[in-house]
């Protein structure tokens, strides 16, 4: 966490998730020991819980529900994990939140798309790649093909949502 805290949140909002991935890598073992002692979870259950908690945290940042990075991030994440367990939220399901229903429906439909479509939409809307770069990544012959492909995938997702 060498970057300033405010910058960390900004980076998360624009799609740089390295901060959370690093946190998971650093904390997975200690978190599993804590979960085993406090809640009698086995290692695999603890790892899933930490992943879900970090996804909830990401949602809070992306939604704008969290605007200031907590002073003690470890305590905050452990607290969120405890809330998940207390609320008995099933694994791989996010915490209830504003707009969650609409977004969760879209996420579910997004996962119904083929891998190529998911990749194209992720490159364009999440990574912010232009058509030329996206075409290069996907192996399309030119930017026009990439644009048409993106249009097709976006319409397909919209049709699934209706």
């Amino acid at each position: 966490m060498s970057a300033p805290l405010a910058e960390t949140l900004t980076q998360l909002r624009i799609g740089n998730q390295k901060f959370l991935v690093d946190f998971y890598q650093r904390s997975r073992h200690l978190f599993a020991r804590w979960a085993q002692r406090q809640h009698r979870l086995n290692a695999a259950q603890a790892h899933t819980l930490l992943q879900d908690t970090l996804l909830d945290f990401y949602d809070q940042v992306a939604d704008g529900r969290l605007t200031i990075l907590p002073v003690d991030l470890r305590d905050y994440i452990y607290g969120m994990a405890q809330q998940r367990l207390a609320a008995q939220v099933p694994a791989n399901v996010p915490l209830p939140a504003a707009e969650a229903s609409r977004r969760q429906r879209l996420l579910a439909q997004f996962n119904q798309l083929g891998n190529d479509c998911q990749q194209v939409l992720t490159y364009f809307y999440f990574r912010g790649y232009n058509f030329e770069k996206m075409g290069g990544k996907m192996g399309f012959p030119n930017a026009t093909v990439a644009r048409r492909q993106k249009t097709t995938c976006l319409r397909k997702l919209y049709e699934l949502l209706r």
Binding site: V21, A62, L106, R147
Partner: protein
């Protein structure tokens, strides 16, 4: 709201694919056409949700991939640890086996080399009962000093010196048979079985029924044995073993009974 009638325009506008004049016209229509403005707002929310969903899914997949990698690494480390422990156990087992084999080899070697009643000795010395000769008394020392010196050296184990001293003793003072017998004894003890036979045979054949001849016969048998002449050794010792008057009868019987001369 159904976006399909507006989808193409809204997408091209959002992606910056319109020409400047077309874009200006579209922006003007957005201000005037309420339905288009609502569709634009709905499209923006749709793409914002999509941006979130793509980010959420990307993070989920990255965390899962990292988790899989860490699990694989943990399993590989555990396997390596297990392998190392197994190797350590194997080397300990082999070491213990080596020690056991070494001890077994030592025990077998000890068993084979140990003196045993069950395995009779083949060496003549194991059955030999030495004759120390007459005791060196003060009287003997005064009356026959050279003989006393020779006997003293013989009893001390200095056989060459004893033979030399014996050579200086006159047969008239001691008796020829005694001197011959003693010379045979000394040669036998010195390890010259062949030479000893000449002297001991002379005494043994000479006085057939005498005490000295009986003694000489026993030592002659041992001299044959020492010279590896087993057949005459066995025959001579058998004679001794059957002679109830021979003082070495018991020793001769033991040697014959052992069967090592057969």
């Amino acid at each position: 709201m159904d976006l399909r009638p507006y989808f193409d325009e809204l997408e091209r506008f959002a992606d910056g694919q319109m020409a400047p004049a077309e874009q200006d016209a579209f922006e003007l229509r957005l201000e005037q056409d309420e339905a288009l403005a609502d569709a634009h707002a709905a499209f923006e929310q749709f793409t914002a949700d999509l941006r979130w969903a793509a980010g959420h899914d990307t993070l989920r997949l990255r965390l899962q991939a990292l988790d899989d990698r860490m699990n694989e690494r943990g399993s590989a480390l555990a396997r390596a640890e297990q392998l190392s422990q197994r190797r350590q156990r194997l080397s300990t087992l082999l070491g213990a086996l080596g020690v056991v084999l070494l001890l077994a080899a030592g025990a077998v070697a000890w068993y084979l080399l140990r003196p045993s009643a069950a395995r009779p000795a083949h060496n003549w010395e194991a059955y030999y009962q030495p004759d120390p000769g007459p005791a060196v008394t003060t009287g003997l020392l005064h009356s026959r000093p050279l003989l006393s010196e020779a006997l003293d050296q013989y009893q001390s184990g200095h056989y060459p010196a004893a033979l030399h001293s014996l050579g200086r003793v006159s047969p008239t003072n001691v008796g020829a048979d005694t001197l011959t017998y003693l010379r045979g004894l000394m040669l036998l003890r010195q390890g010259q079985g062949n030479a000893a036979q000449l002297y001991l045979r002379r005494v043994a054949d000479d006085g057939d029924a005498g005490e000295l001849a009986r003694r000489a016969r026993y030592h002659l048998g041992m001299a044959y044995w020492q010279a590896k002449e087993l057949a005459p050794a066995l025959a001579t010792l058998r004679d001794v073993a059957t002679d109830s008057l021979n003082p070495y009868r018991a020793s001769a019987r033991r040697a014959v009974a052992a069967g090592v001369l057969d």
